[in-house]
């Protein structure tokens, strides 16, 4: 099973690189047709600044008939920030070593041994019960981690002075100010899990700059650290009406010796009809509540799977 998944991922990555996946991805599916029809967009014509909508990296989670999107997929091991990890500073290495992840491949697994090219961050997973992932006790994921979740969608809502993002996973939101303000050189207030953000259009690209982060969040599921000096740049660009590309850059000289640029994350638009579930339509309230996750799941299932005896 694991071998099949691993080789399947490798194969599909190759397919995506050949560009076959890109062709498949741009076909009109049921969901995308409805999405386009709902906003009156004709094929081939779209407003490059119309980024409002619900976006996912796995359209088939919402519509089984939607074309698969292999280019939305990621390298083996899971959905992370990027595979081209810059060298750590000594402080960065210390914090990276202190973050113990329950994701990626176990060090002695077939997948880890078959993918020695992957950064060690994707090959050091332990059973989640033995990890120290802040998410496992329902602490906020923060930015950029929350942007990397899949298939959980996020919604973008553009208003005159702010752009909002609403995330299904953890039912979180952030605000990006577009009223012309600039980020301070130094922040003298409570650090935020989601940072303080401003945004502006550079041509057809929406560029978001963020600063003022709480350094307890991880950059992604693999436990890559950041400091409270991290600055994040997000670049959103519509390739077509139903395809939103996102590339993120982390600039954190305390942790990394040079800026870390993510791969382009390809998101597909989810039509309203495809969000319908359980007699309701919209994002699910995918809250991580400690009463469920910590008191029930972790105790009854996660910890037992890691061999931890109940107290």
């Amino acid at each position: 099973m694991q071998g099949k998944v691993s080789s399947a991922v490798a194969l599909i990555t190759a397919v995506g690189l050949l560009g076959i996946g890109a062709g498949a991805c741009t076909q009109e599916g049921k969901g995308t047709q409805e999405g386009a029809a709902a906003t009156g967009v004709e094929a081939g014509k779209f407003d490059p600044k119309d980024i409002s909508g619900v976006w996912t990296r796995n359209p088939q989670s919402f519509n089984k008939d939607a074309p698969p999107c292999p280019e939305c997929r990621e390298p083996p091991g899971g959905y992370g920030f990027g595979v081209d990890v810059p060298p750590f500073t000594p402080e960065g290495q210390k914090r990276f070593d202190a973050n113990i992840t329950g994701k990626g491949f176990a060090p002695d697994s077939k997948e880890a041994l078959a993918n020695p090219q992957l950064h060690i961050g994707r090959r050091r997973g332990v059973p989640p019960g033995l990890a120290n992932d802040p998410q496992a006790t329902c602490n906020p994921d923060g930015i950029p981690r929350l942007l990397l979740m899949t298939p959980a969608p996020y919604e973008i809502l553009v208003t005159p002075e702010r752009v909002f993002q609403f995330f299904e996973w953890t039912w979180a939101h952030r605000e990006i100010w577009t009223d012309g303000r600039v980020l301070p050189e130094q922040l003298d207030y409570v650090p935020r899990w989601f940072g303080y953000s401003t945004g502006k259009w550079e041509g057809d690209t929406f560029v978001v700059e963020s600063f003022g982060f709480d350094d307890r969040s991880w950059i992604d599921i693999f436990g890559y650290p950041h400091s409270d000096q991290m600055r994040v740049t997000e670049r959103y660009k519509l390739r077509d009406h139903d395809t939103l590309e996102l590339q993120i850059t982390v600039n954190d000289p305390v942790i990394y010796t040079k800026p870390w640029v993510s791969e382009v994350k390809v998101n597909k638009r989810v039509a309203k009809a495809d969000l319908a579930a359980g007699g309701w339509s919209g994002l699910q309230e995918d809250v991580c509540a400690p009463l469920d996750e910590v008191d029930i799941f972790n105790k009854l299932v996660r910890d037992k799977a890691a061999g931890i005896k109940a107290e």
């Binding site: 399947a8 990626g104 996973w169 996750e293 029930i296």
Partner: protein, 132 residues
Amino acid sequence: MKAYKSIAAVLLAFVSLQVAPAMAHHGSNISYDLSKSWEQKATITKFGYINPHPIVLFDVTNKKGEVEHWHSEIVTNPSRMIRSGWGKIRSEAALKPGTVVTLTLSPAKAGGFSALITKITNDKGEEIITGN
């Protein structure tokens, strides 16, 4: 023939990829030995339709006639379940305590009565919860 094999490989890749992210999200590939799996008749004792990890507790009678109390999770979550037609009412009815089902399980690497459920089949032989 070669072409058929290629097509089959691509299809397998697409199908497998639907499973891979869930595995990665839950860390299931680390806690559980997915290279091993077996089918098991089981009696549900508790089902929790909770976010983000539904739980299933079940009893198994072993060859010695002893009852084992197992703890498990399913490779899906409520937001995915509801979108594939498995809402709370239908799911809880299908897995109410006392229901006998056939589970496909992969064991926890740490041992014990702990497993990952990859498939659930009801007494009519229909795949439930885990299927679409």
